[in-house]
């Protein structure tokens, strides 16, 4: 299964980010990665957790607005220029990146980069052909 990301609506009001993270804690989830995107009025918190179902159940109980999106996770050698080569491959394949973020793993020398493409059904085969197979949720968890 592709990596699932939980995106949570963040109102521009004191204490809202803490409330979202509190849900992650209550669901006893490990936070693998978090990225925040915002405007002057509102934001979106993007979370990668080890148990998506438990985390979304808690978010739902607490009345947060959220959705779950399938992302494309690629393994990236944790050394200079690693990301550039992946981006070159994406450009060459004519894919549009909506947004992306990266995080280091527990395995030395390995990082994961997460992409949001408009259409995974187009992106995944193109990246596989370019030598960058998408990681499954299990593979990411094992890293």
């Amino acid at each position: 299964m592709n990596v699932r990301q939980i995106s949570v609506f963040l109102e521009n009001r004191a204490g809202r980010l803490a409330s979202i993270l509190q849900c992650v804690t209550e669901a006893q989830c490990n936070l693998r990665a978090m990225s925040l995107s915002d405007t002057s009025d509102f934001g979106i918190v993007r979370l990668l957790v080890d148990d998506v179902d438990r985390c979304t159940a808690t978010l739902r109980d607490r009345g947060h607005t959220f959705n779950v999106t399938e992302m494309v996770a690629l393994e990236m050698p944790d050394r200079p220029g690693g990301l550039n080569r992946i981006l070159d491959a994406i450009t060459a394949a004519g894919l549009n990146v909506e947004y992306m973020y990266a995080f280091a793993t527990r395995t030395p020398g390995k990082a994961v980069v997460i992409f949001r493409f408009e259409d995974n059904a187009v992106a995944i085969p193109a990246l596989t052909a370019a030598g960058y197979p998408a990681l499954t949720e299990e593979q990411v968890r094992a890293l």
């Binding site: 990301q5 995106s7 609506f9 109102e11 521009n12 009001r13 809202r16 995107s37 915002d38 405007t39 009025d41 509102f42 934001g43 979106i44 993007r46 009345g63 947060h64 607005t65 959220f66 959705n67 999106t69 909506e98 947004y99 949001r116």
Partner: protein, 437 residues
Amino acid sequence: MTTPTSKPLSWAETLPRAELRALQSERLRAVVRHAYDHVPFYRRRMDEAGVRPDDIRDIADLAKLPFTVKKDFRDQYPFGMLGTPLRDIVRIHASSGTTGKPTVAASTQADLDVWAECAARALERAGSTPESIVQVSYGYGLFTGGLGMHYAAERLGAAVVPASAGNTEKQVMLMKDFGVTTLCCTPSYALQIAEVGAAMGVDMHSLKLRAGHFGAEPWTEAMRKHIEEVLPLKAYDIYGLSEVAGPGVAGECTQQSGLHFCEDHFYPEIIDPETGAPLPDGEKGELVVTCLSKYGQPLLRYRTRDITCILPDACPCGRTTRRIARLMGRTDDMLIIRGVNVFPSQIEDVLVRVKGVLPQYLITVDRQGNLDTMEIQIEIGNDAFTDKIKTLEALRADLQHRLKTVLNVGAKVKLCEPGSIERTLGKAVRVRDLRKI
């Protein structure tokens, strides 16, 4: 149906009360008969109430007639209230309705003549003459403010400067260069003009302004004092609503203590808003207006939702027409933002049409400088949510656009989490008005 133009504008304002009453009764009989014969809506209403046109002989019989309310306009939208064939209608205005559809105000030429005459009286009461130069800085358009005062000034024989609202620096320039004597606009816009003028380095007290006719939004005696300090004019309150006509239905004289009602054409009653029972002069209640001379779109006992009272004593100016006090509020939840009427129900009507947006909202009205601001917090549910910022921004922009189209006034939309707008038991709090009016 029309008024003789050979008489002075104000001839009806000094009639002995008995003569005025005879005139009112005569006009009422004719207009009720006309409404019954030509508007199926009124015929049905009167039949249901068991009232025949012949039962209405004197102005005192008015209380026998059923009320007309704003919702009736929506139910009869667009032309169900017309009392003449469309070919006799020469102008159609529209104001805010309580939902998406506007409230239609259609007039014959005779109706417009009556309105212009009444609004011209308002100018005259405050000392304007054919020598005056009147700048109309109300918006021109579907809103009755601009065109209403425009034709009033022409009727008076004054020179009219149809500036409309906006482009304030140019307004100041015209005022100064033309020697404008009379200003017509909302009271908050008058303050805006004064402020912009001062910032331009214009000595506002050197202007020839002598009278200002301000209405279309609530204001206070304190605001009057303030306007009279920053502009070299006397500030006069003017009242009107498009269902009845427009500005000029009532307006102050130089006494500045109550608005003379043009009661030869528009008959005012005050009722208890709970029971509908008429109240004696001097008691505070809801203003109800009957148009005694309007045939294009007859209006009988219209509940304005405005709260005021009819002043019981005679005005020292010598006019015999009764006066209403400055408006004291509303019996409904209508807001007036920059002179535009806004009903919270209009906002709800927009939100229920957008998928994923909850019908939970909170309107915050404030005033920054002299300009009203409106922010609408809207709760966003999972169905409308996406992980892409630009999609959410587009949703926000779309909501803002839809609301502006319906409300005719801009509002800033703020997206909120579900549950962030406080729910209270009973009536939901939909409006926070932080303006200190």
